[in-house]
Symmetry: D4
Subunit: 217 residues, 8 copies
Amino acid sequence: MSEHPSSPPKGIRSWMRLWVDQIKLLLDSLEIKRTHLVGNSLGGAIALHLLAEAPERIDRVVLMGPAGAPFRLTRELDRIWGFYEDPSKEAMAQMIRWFAYDESFIEDQLDNISKMRFEAAMNPAVRRSYEAMFPQPRQQIVDDLVLPSATLRRIQQQVLLVHGLNDPIVPVETSYYLAQHLPRVKMMIYGQCSHWTQVEHRDSFHSLLLSFFKDKI
Amino acid sequence: MSEHPSSPPKGIRSWMRLWVDQIKLLLDSLEIKRTHLVGNSLGGAIALHLLAEAPERIDRVVLMGPAGAPFRLTRELDRIWGFYEDPSKEAMAQMIRWFAYDESFIEDQLDNISKMRFEAAMNPAVRRSYEAMFPQPRQQIVDDLVLPSATLRRIQQQVLLVHGLNDPIVPVETSYYLAQHLPRVKMMIYGQCSHWTQVEHRDSFHSLLLSFFKDKI
Amino acid sequence: MSEHPSSPPKGIRSWMRLWVDQIKLLLDSLEIKRTHLVGNSLGGAIALHLLAEAPERIDRVVLMGPAGAPFRLTRELDRIWGFYEDPSKEAMAQMIRWFAYDESFIEDQLDNISKMRFEAAMNPAVRRSYEAMFPQPRQQIVDDLVLPSATLRRIQQQVLLVHGLNDPIVPVETSYYLAQHLPRVKMMIYGQCSHWTQVEHRDSFHSLLLSFFKDKI
Amino acid sequence: MSEHPSSPPKGIRSWMRLWVDQIKLLLDSLEIKRTHLVGNSLGGAIALHLLAEAPERIDRVVLMGPAGAPFRLTRELDRIWGFYEDPSKEAMAQMIRWFAYDESFIEDQLDNISKMRFEAAMNPAVRRSYEAMFPQPRQQIVDDLVLPSATLRRIQQQVLLVHGLNDPIVPVETSYYLAQHLPRVKMMIYGQCSHWTQVEHRDSFHSLLLSFFKDKI
Amino acid sequence: MSEHPSSPPKGIRSWMRLWVDQIKLLLDSLEIKRTHLVGNSLGGAIALHLLAEAPERIDRVVLMGPAGAPFRLTRELDRIWGFYEDPSKEAMAQMIRWFAYDESFIEDQLDNISKMRFEAAMNPAVRRSYEAMFPQPRQQIVDDLVLPSATLRRIQQQVLLVHGLNDPIVPVETSYYLAQHLPRVKMMIYGQCSHWTQVEHRDSFHSLLLSFFKDKI
Amino acid sequence: MSEHPSSPPKGIRSWMRLWVDQIKLLLDSLEIKRTHLVGNSLGGAIALHLLAEAPERIDRVVLMGPAGAPFRLTRELDRIWGFYEDPSKEAMAQMIRWFAYDESFIEDQLDNISKMRFEAAMNPAVRRSYEAMFPQPRQQIVDDLVLPSATLRRIQQQVLLVHGLNDPIVPVETSYYLAQHLPRVKMMIYGQCSHWTQVEHRDSFHSLLLSFFKDKI
Amino acid sequence: MSEHPSSPPKGIRSWMRLWVDQIKLLLDSLEIKRTHLVGNSLGGAIALHLLAEAPERIDRVVLMGPAGAPFRLTRELDRIWGFYEDPSKEAMAQMIRWFAYDESFIEDQLDNISKMRFEAAMNPAVRRSYEAMFPQPRQQIVDDLVLPSATLRRIQQQVLLVHGLNDPIVPVETSYYLAQHLPRVKMMIYGQCSHWTQVEHRDSFHSLLLSFFKDKI
Amino acid sequence: MSEHPSSPPKGIRSWMRLWVDQIKLLLDSLEIKRTHLVGNSLGGAIALHLLAEAPERIDRVVLMGPAGAPFRLTRELDRIWGFYEDPSKEAMAQMIRWFAYDESFIEDQLDNISKMRFEAAMNPAVRRSYEAMFPQPRQQIVDDLVLPSATLRRIQQQVLLVHGLNDPIVPVETSYYLAQHLPRVKMMIYGQCSHWTQVEHRDSFHSLLLSFFKDKI
């Protein structure tokens, strides 16, 4: 996904097509027959689509705060996907705050991060792609990412769901829903945790994934 | 809890009083200042009451398929607690089936286990205690076990909830509820799993608890 | 079930125990190893309990307007089970009307039937048994007849559900519920039909059962 | 319906007009005064419209997994009707899987079928018609197919509804709804069955229809 | 209904039996073959039971603020039926206020009326009957008065429902419910009106009934 | 409202403006200071808007099956307002059937009426106006006709609501809603009656209105 | 209310009678014609009953966390009213914690207070009265305290409701309900506040009441 | 906000950006480091956005009938924001009536006010700005004004919410919602009061704000 196409696909389903094909190509070019997969947020939805379409290439899967299940678009996610409607450093700072349950540990770097990210976001190529991915109405995007339940129930891989209990961006009920439909599933929920489980519970998260990939948990 | 009092307490709240006091005495007599705690099912509710009343004695806590939160009495639990209304070896066998999601791995021993358990249950002392614990209407028992939310939100210990996704006895939503009210919580849910997480996912369960008590997860 | 015990069991669950044991004895005494089963209304619940407890004795099963699933006690059923609270020929006539969607075809015999049934009902032995079966509160009876879903999902027999769409006594949703929980199920619903499918759609019903028992439908 | 018009009607209601008129013409040209009717899925909705408009031409009617009642668009149906938004052989294979509850019996031919169907679908005339039938938003299509209840309650024909209990494309509740509104109705529901009742329960289905058309069921 | 039996019937259903029989006797002794009927409040329920049981004796029927349909016991009705739990002149005055939407027109007589009614109520025979009619729990009384819908749909008489829109004792939804189930029904609702339609809208009420009994409305 | 403007207003609210102004002009030109008002269906909504805006011109008001309150667009109304999307004599006949609960009394004239109305409808001027009134999405039309409750509660006129209990076009709940918000209201509901109360209950309707306008009911 | 009767009234409504009468006597003996009133918790319900019965004696009224409206019994209140079912110093301490949102400011005195209160509670006269007030089922007590809405809407006094937003004992929705039904009402809600508004927001509370009684707020 | 830009921003979020920036500039130019803030209706939403973005500039905050929380667009607000769809002096008068619960005290000036406001509204510059702020669909405007809950819970200022209980424009539940999410909040609700708390309860409102800004309440 290194470059931004000058005439980007329109709508999230065409992007999904592109991402899934890119990953398959990547696996081919690296001569990887079968691999574990970790998907975060939107990446969780990509992982699920890949599982449905190329199950023979995938082994165990970890999904963190994943999209791919039906949920009611949160205001936080609406503002994140709609960032370019009214882009500002202040809005960027607000967004970054939402990713953490306890913002104190990023407080002193918040200005720096916001500034850096805002500048990166102002890159025209980035903006062009991003705006093409997330047009209004954004509830439609959430819905287009959903895998039909008749597809979910056929996924045979072991899936580990990881979600922050207080995630205001992708609500924890999304993972509760996936757990109901995936046949071979485990689910780990972290309290006092927002959308960044891997940051707010770093050590536990690291240890959990190691155990899961070694088939110990 | 080695002996059955000849005139047992009446109602689950008096039993709860007794159990909490017994555990405190036990800890005193063993000269244990502070301990980890593992509570299963009804034992989960006991652990929560102990946490509320003697927090200085408890360190980390694991609750498996715990009572202690509000839930609608399931028919399965109603039949289990009401076993003596119409006791039979057949009813015992039905009950044991409910504890496993996939009964095949106990199938060949089911007759033996049912018979043994039925005989044990017919011990008059056991029956006297059990009937005193679980009188009708049994929704009342579930409700009497619940800790007020104003109490739950004051528990400062790390709590790990473990629950089978398909538990027909204590539904998984019970743990979802506790997770919402306990301030420092993690929750692990097992798919294709009924009320016996420690049996149906033995190795994973073992590994998870070790990590948790070592503060690694 | 030919005779009425002079001191009848109390409560529907003790009666259920009795009925299930009687049927097993009957099958033994007739040296029937394995049989098809047809259960109507309350008899449907009995059939389901037998299926759970002695599956090796039962082949294909037909349930007509069956109890055994959770439903909200209808006023009609409450009045039928509570007939002896205020027994009269008029009340008997009202009840008989409820069994048919279109009462016209029994209209001319209604007086006769009501009279006969009323006299039979006034037999003290019948009354004693009946009152012992259906004490207040009657929602409890409906609930006590229910098989836990963890039991229903383990029934391996082919079950055919038959229900009148306009049944005011046991609502058709009861069969919709059973269909959701029984793994190997077919369901036939008759329009313009009350609780007596076998009377109001006699020929179709007859033909359907023949086909089902011959494994043609 | 042999040919695809070069400028196809727009929207499902104009198509419906066309289909109903075509069938009436067909009956005229074949000099059929009155006929039984079998309608599958979308065809079920067509049959119902024909019943409302030309009741004198129709005798008994069978509807399998029919549209024509209100239901919430399933994701599966949304993807099927929106196939051309992102057509691929992989998507075709996913869709075919949804039609069966147990895909094992088509597993070995799935590749062949998907390929054949995909090629057929890529025929520009087919695509043109199909896209003209099913434009976004597709909930609108479901709604436009619905017959007002004031029309349904006037249909005097015997109607047999047939539906798979696990149909993820047109949910079984659709038939439950039609049964509530059609005055002369029977309904047969198959367990462990998806959208293809006629395939997954072939023999039973065949036998059932014969009996129904002979007025035996 | 002139006298109060020294050992009154227990429970509302036995009273209902008594009242219906009394009315039939009355009609017989007066040699009335067939009559119009006006039933108010509890009297509405009596009228409906009479309609079900002796339809040949009844012509047109007016029901004012009638019981006989399911509704959630209002606090006002609970206090009225439970008056003797804590009888006082003050409580009597409160109750009388509830019967009018605008109490101003009875304000100056309220003291007199309360006193008179309170004294009458303290008559031991009245009290004995009343307490026997309305024991706790009173939701049960409301429920026992309900006619099963399978009975309501068979009533062939013309029924006129009259109800105050702001009735806090028997809510107007009760008449909405009856209107749904009685086949030949008209319903007149008065705004700014409590339980006493015949008092608060006297002239209109009078005129309406005349027209109805003359078959003009 | 005698002529159809060649460039008609767009949207129902502009039409409402036009209608209200036309009626005020009409009253002026006829030198009517104050008048009773009868409004049917859409005309009911017009009457309510007139009441809000020119209360000094209006005396007593009768609303029959009125719009003007919030309700969920029925399919029947959607098809009526969308008639020109797919106009046909058959569709016209269907629509006419909906206006009567019991179509038998118009059955023999149905063909004639349908034909006449269809021809009238095909008049281009009529069609132009009609299509301009009722564009999609039609739920919006229902909503735009609604009077805010803060306006309804200020209407001081006596209003009589008349509605058919089985109206499939404007549901009876619409009048229940208006009754809740209009301070001085009476409501007459007819059983076995669709949208044409004045046709299906002609004599009663006539008599009721006379009484109402004479202040007798 | 200085003494505890040796045979106390049974049930909350008899107590209510007693309390209201005592207050009226008190006002008489002190020769107070008309007074402001402040009612806290259960005292709020007493104040409302007094308002309904002796409105001429009362001026402005303040209700803090009042009962008297319908609400679902909270577990906290159930445990408080049921204290004597299982009395202990530990249970007393738990209860006291619930009265404060932030327990830190009573933390150091908690032991003392709990001990004192526990000893006071063990006074047999206190216990006798208390147990007579709050028998099971306690939802019934909440319900018996409720004033019918037809009574509430007639209260003409200015009422100021004061409630803690986080009150776990009497939920804030209770005051929201009263505000909807009392015609002349103001309501002040405190954030970060439990059942003791007068303690946790002492200065603001003091200032607010002064202003209210001086008719300044 | 003195002038109306000739090409106004499109959509409420761009306007919000503009307003927030203008206020910050204003504070700068007046050299105000930190200030109390009072926001009314839409102004309440502006105040909340300012709080989120420039918390260091704001001290205590009063919000009256504020937007900024999710609520279902009321018809009244829809008509106010959509005034220019069908502008008239009559519509203006209707709108003004909604702002008061008891319109009597503005009755005699209503004509004058309506006329003045209507003329002001017909100023093309005003209209241009207003129409640019409030385009259809207006539910979207309400939603775009909402602050994500993850932002609200981080606001550290003392906020006083003031709302009329009978506000038909911004419903009181909006303030109930904000109270749940703002950590340091008080809320004052006025009975018999519409959207203009500061007008209908002028003296109390004045006194309340003084006390609040002096930290006395």
